[in-house]
Assembly symmetry: C2
Homo-oligomer: 196 residues x 2
Amino acid sequence: MTTTAAPERRAAPPARRRILDTARNLFYGEGIRAVGVDRIIAEAGVAKATFYHHFPAKDDLVCAYLKEQSDLQRGLADGLRSAEGPAEERLVAVFEAVGEIGCGPGFRGCAFVNASVEYPDPAHPVRQVVAAHRAWFRGLVRDLLAATGHPDPDPTAGMLVMLRDGIVVGADLDDAAEVRALVRDAVTRLAAVPRS
Amino acid sequence: MTTTAAPERRAAPPARRRILDTARNLFYGEGIRAVGVDRIIAEAGVAKATFYHHFPAKDDLVCAYLKEQSDLQRGLADGLRSAEGPAEERLVAVFEAVGEIGCGPGFRGCAFVNASVEYPDPAHPVRQVVAAHRAWFRGLVRDLLAATGHPDPDPTAGMLVMLRDGIVVGADLDDAAEVRALVRDAVTRLAAVPRS
DNA sequence: CCGAGCCTAGACAGACCTGTCTGGTAAAGT
DNA sequence: ACTTTACCAGACAGGTCTGTCTAGGCTCGG
């Protein structure tokens, strides 16, 4: 037990953090293929050897970038999931949060969808990170839907995942404010219990 | 008036067609940045000078590729739009066609969404082709919705455009067959006249 | 027969890409 | 004092990218 703070293994070294932060900004903002390793190295103020020490290949950095984004979103959603209030409102809150983010500055669509476009091979490690994230989100929606007592949570969750994808694409390519204004209604219509 | 067939100006030269066909396959299947001009030239069996004669820059080819895709989709949709039957069915038919295409072999999402991911600058010519295509589709949906007598065709069209984006993303990244099975229900729920 | 238009073949330039390697610095643990 | 670890600086190799240029062939109308 050393005296210095070492939360788990060791505090994340600054260089790695700087690389990851720079990569996030550039990959998300300009695209993955469009950003070279050299540029990340320059903007992060890091030596090339240090970069390749932490990330043996560019794809490793891409995976780490997406995993971190996934963790962030999971943390955010867990806050909304365990809020008080009726389950219907918590479900809507998750989608409104997506619409809200879409209105924020620098929004450029879903990092996972965008990464998939740049990695066409479904077997690529990057695509597996994307698949895991999507499976998590779908599970989240299904659980919230089940908590509302919806009779068909699974197919309806499929529809709501489509809606989520439509929100992020629409907020990027069309009018984000208009998209945001439609979110609550769209969730309500899709999640409404179909009358027999 | 020459005797040879000359529909408008002159029959499309084979080289240009070969370039465009090859570009479509490679750009759509592997991504735009991922495919170099050299490879298109090689697979189209065309000289480099010929390529740059028809398309002064790669971006010109990208625009032409997308414009052609847009024209194809408009032609397809016009067939569905002017079919007989109630307007509700024609609206559903448009979306089911999207779901159907998503189940086809080689489907890799929406060419326009994918291109936007690779061209982050909204002012880029490629993005303007995308914007025009999206505006057309939204107009199509709005018109069909209005034909059903829907009281709020415009916001509902916004929701249905989101659904379309969700279908193409979902069919690419998730289970296309499941997505297709959900399309009709999702359209119906979103386009249902909200009871006061 | 001849010239215009469209085509092929391929060298070339200059930039950028990923990834490797050498060598040196500085702090922290033992 | 010694070693380990993390870091910085930058040259280098081998490949790919877009786009330009030279040089010539093939066909068809006049």
